[in-house]
Amino acid sequence: MVDSVGKVVLPGENLTDLLGSDSTFESSAWSRNTTGDRFSDRVKTWFLKFKEPNIYWVDSFQKRYIPQRGDSVIGIITTKAGDVFRVDVGASELATLPYLAFESATKRNRPDVKVGDIVYCKFLVANKDMEPELVCIDGSGKSAGLGVIGRDGGMLLQVPINLVQKVLSPECVLFKTLGKNLKYEVAVGMNGRIWIKCHTVMETIAVANAISVSQHMTNQDIQKMCSQMADSLVGF
């Protein structure tokens, strides 16, 4: 059972063999059970991962984002339509963001958001049957970092989804190491979009490159790369 963790599993493979016949399956978003044999179709490919005490899941790599409720994403306002903004989040359809879903917004006090702005927002409604809905406030009405970003500059970068998950995980040292040498501001959206801002354009480009390149690197390599980058920015 433990051997199969970290192995590649493909759609159509029978997981009962790998995980032992005494385990029962819970249906997750990415697996499908057929009754009778406790035979589970693996619908996405890739690594089988394990977390104590009894959760197995399949980790996959993809570039296309599929909306999930509660995810924080970076969207671009494309149009205004009645009482809502239409936001492009890189999913299969445009999401809606109501005017009133900003901090201290009322019907008289409209938020200062224009077409083409970048917003950092959270999914309120996200399932396959309904149009996705976003908000820029949390449960208590505070913005908590959400809202319009990037008015005064910065760069928006598009990366694969698994890189975003790697960079946000507590074990990854990328942001901490970059912070030792550079001052930067970053907003990471779960839809693969990262907004970066530094003092100069050159530093912004350097940070963007560092993030893209760290996709295939281990923590040690990341630290080496960051120190090389810091040296080259200074002029060595």
Partner: protein, 262 residues
């Protein structure tokens, strides 16, 4: 005395697009061709040793292109095909389906404008993909697949379907199972040639392509062109089923290699 159970196929390009059991349904009998096939049957028994039962060298690269969500280039011998998958993405309202994803396949030949043969190829690939992709997870979306022929040296349909399956794997689109396509040709001695090249296809009596899935190795699609008997069909089916296991193993090895870099 002609045995009751033996029936003869005479068919032009003929495609099944559903899960079929081992014994295919017989559509019709053309009496005037029985004498020819009877001769073929006799020679088939005598020339069993002329069978060639190996697939050509398979190789693939994944994720070369930057814009598609998933892409794969697969070559079987000298036949090479690149597929790219975009999706799930936006769909035009006229093409939108309420309960599942719209699957769109475009096949581009190496030279010239696409014609009717290309449309048939697109339709076959699209129907195979509809069986395999879990469209219900992405209603009102579209999954677009572009298949570009790089070089055609025989067994084009099976190379297209294999490269489409690898591209779907690379993009992370949810699938019920994988699909592997294997082609074979029946020459006029009655021998079966696996994965024929262009010369073998042109000199053959029939060319059959089978697409299998990797749960129970059932048939997803059959595409058959030419004149063959029921016995020959069954033999081709079982040979191709055995060969498909090699193709599935190849898929797994390719993905494992790609992921070992992650």
């Amino acid at each position: 005395m002609w045995p009751m159970g033996l029936l003869v196929y005479y068919t032009n390009q003929f495609t099944y697009n559903c899960l079929i059991p081992n014994t295919p349904k017989v559509n019709h009998v053309k009496i005037e061709n029985i004498s020819r096939s009877f001769k073929t049957l006799n020679r088939h028994v005598a020339f069993m040793e002329s069978e060639i039962s190996k697939l050509r060298q398979l190789s693939s690269t994944l994720g070369d292109l930057s814009r598609p969500d998933g892409d794969a280039t697969v070559s079987q011998g000298d036949t090479c095909v690149t597929s790219a998958v975009y999706g799930p993405g936006e769909v035009k309202v006229t093409k939108e389906l309420l309960d599942k994803a719209t699957i769109d396949v475009v096949y581009k030949p190496k030279s010239g404008l696409p014609g009717c043969a290309e449309k048939l190829l697109e339709r076959t690939i699209r129907n195979s993909c509809e069986t395999v992709i879990l469209g219900n997870l992405h209603p009102r979306s579209s999954i677009s697949i572009t298949v570009q022929e790089i070089q055609n040296r025989g067994s084009l349909l099976s190379c297209c379907i294999n490269s489409t399956c690898m591209a779907l794997l690379d993009s992370g689109v949810s699938m019920r199972y994988l699909m592997a396509a294997v082609s074979c040709a029946i020459n006029d001695n009655g021998g079966i040639i696996m994965d024929p090249n262009t010369l073998q296809e042109q000199s053959s009596v029939a060319v059959l392509t089978f697409v299998f899935e990797n749960c129970n190795y059932g048939v997803i699609t059959v595409s058959a062109k030419g004149c063959y008997t029921l016995d020959q069909f069954q033999q081709c089916l079982s040979k191709c089923r055995d060969a498909s296991k090699y193709v599935f193993q190849f898929f797994k090895d390719s993905i494992s290699k790609k992921l070992s870099k992650q």
